[in-house]
């Protein structure tokens, strides 16, 4: 790991909220999936009216949901995304170093880390590929 990478923080490489699928809890599953696809990210960030992150829904959650649910697809599409979101998730603060964030991604075997301010508000997302680019010094 390069020195420059360890001295930089994730604030330098995070994807801002406008670049990721951020949505209110009552977004229909169908709409959430469309927004995830449009952003080319495998997760949806569900925030409350104050912008605090209250849930995450990932491609993996979708796979598990499809294997578990016996609902017709049309009914599943009409569910609120929050009903299927995970309420407990790993997150980091803006001051976290890129190295620590990468270690966390590797340790948890995940691709994304939401970045939260002190009040729990979503400030952005660390996605594996931009983080790797930073690591490789691009």
């Amino acid at each position: 790991m390069s020195t420059s990478t360890t001295s930089r923080t994730i604030a330098d490489i995070l994807l801002p909220p406008e670049a990721i699928p951020v949505m209110p809890p009552r977004t229909l599953v169908k709409e959430a999936l469309e927004r995830m696809s449009a952003s080319k990210l495998g997760l949806a960030c569900i925030v409350d009216a104050d912008g605090r992150l209250i849930g995450l829904f990932t491609d993996g959650d979708l796979r598990r949901l499809l294997l578990r649910s016996q609902k017709p697809l049309s009914a599943l599409f009409a569910d609120d995304i929050i009903d299927h979101a995970r309420r407990e998730f790993t997150s980091v603060s803006p001051g976290t170093s890129i190295a620590d964030a990468l270690n966390l991604l590797q340790e948890r075997e995940i691709f994304d880390l939401p970045v939260l301010g002190e009040d729990g508000r979503l400030e952005g997302l660390i996605h594996l590929h931009p983080a790797l680019r930073a690591l490789l010094g691009e």
Binding site: R26, L28, P72, A75, A78, D79
Partner: protein, 293 residues
Amino acid sequence: MIPKVISIGGNDVAEVAIGGTLPLAFLGGPCAIETRDHALEMAMRIGEICARLDIPWVYKSCYDKDCRSSENSFHGIGIDAGLDILAEVRSTCKIPVVCDFSDAAWAAQTAEVVDLLQIPAYLCRQTHILKAAGETGRPLHVKKGQFMSPWNMKNSVRKIEATGNEQILLTDRGTFFGYNMLINDYRNFPIMLETGYPVCFDATHSVQMPTSMGNVSGGQREFIPHLVRAAAGAGINALFMEVHDNPNQALSDPNTQLDIRYLENILSQAKAMHALRQDLLQEWGEDRVHLDD
């Protein structure tokens, strides 16, 4: 989801609250407003029955029947005459009234009189109708279209909520089962309850056989009591039935309206079944059989 309670009427008429663990409410009356005297008589007779049974209720009758099968069928008494009669029923009997409307332009005028504004099943996804209704600020009674899935009623709810109106009652009146036939899917109640709003069962339209008689709808009234008992046990908050003193001569829906002589019997059973369900849930707890829980 915390169950919502909606409030209908109040002030100069009785207040009827529907939802949560409140007692079963009844919405009923002749399908169409036929004459002033008939409307008043029916309101008084139904009112006497509901008073004896201590069932909160809302008088239902409509001034325009836009979904008749035939051009020659009775289309209704008209908005001005109809609303005058409903206003008189309301002030005379001190009960809230409900009436549907099928043209967005009629929403405001109708809402000036009625306490509960009804959206016909065939129009339950029409945005202009839903928004016009929502903007009146009145509580709304939305019937699930016979063609709609219960989960898709959320879209209708969201259209109404977008107007700031959160007083909604959702009703099941049967689902198309092939042509000219309806079937009741009692899963619809818990599914529609997921919206948070109370749910209602329309027993008389559920036994309708839409346009099964060429240019008029048939119906199998004999099934009304069975469906009512089942629905009351399945978790409804309100029961809807069209009631007439001479159904065979009714100007609208003659094959499905309930003869008033059976009303007390059926309402008694509905009330008892509804209360029994509440008692059972209190004793044994909420239903929790889903593997995901």
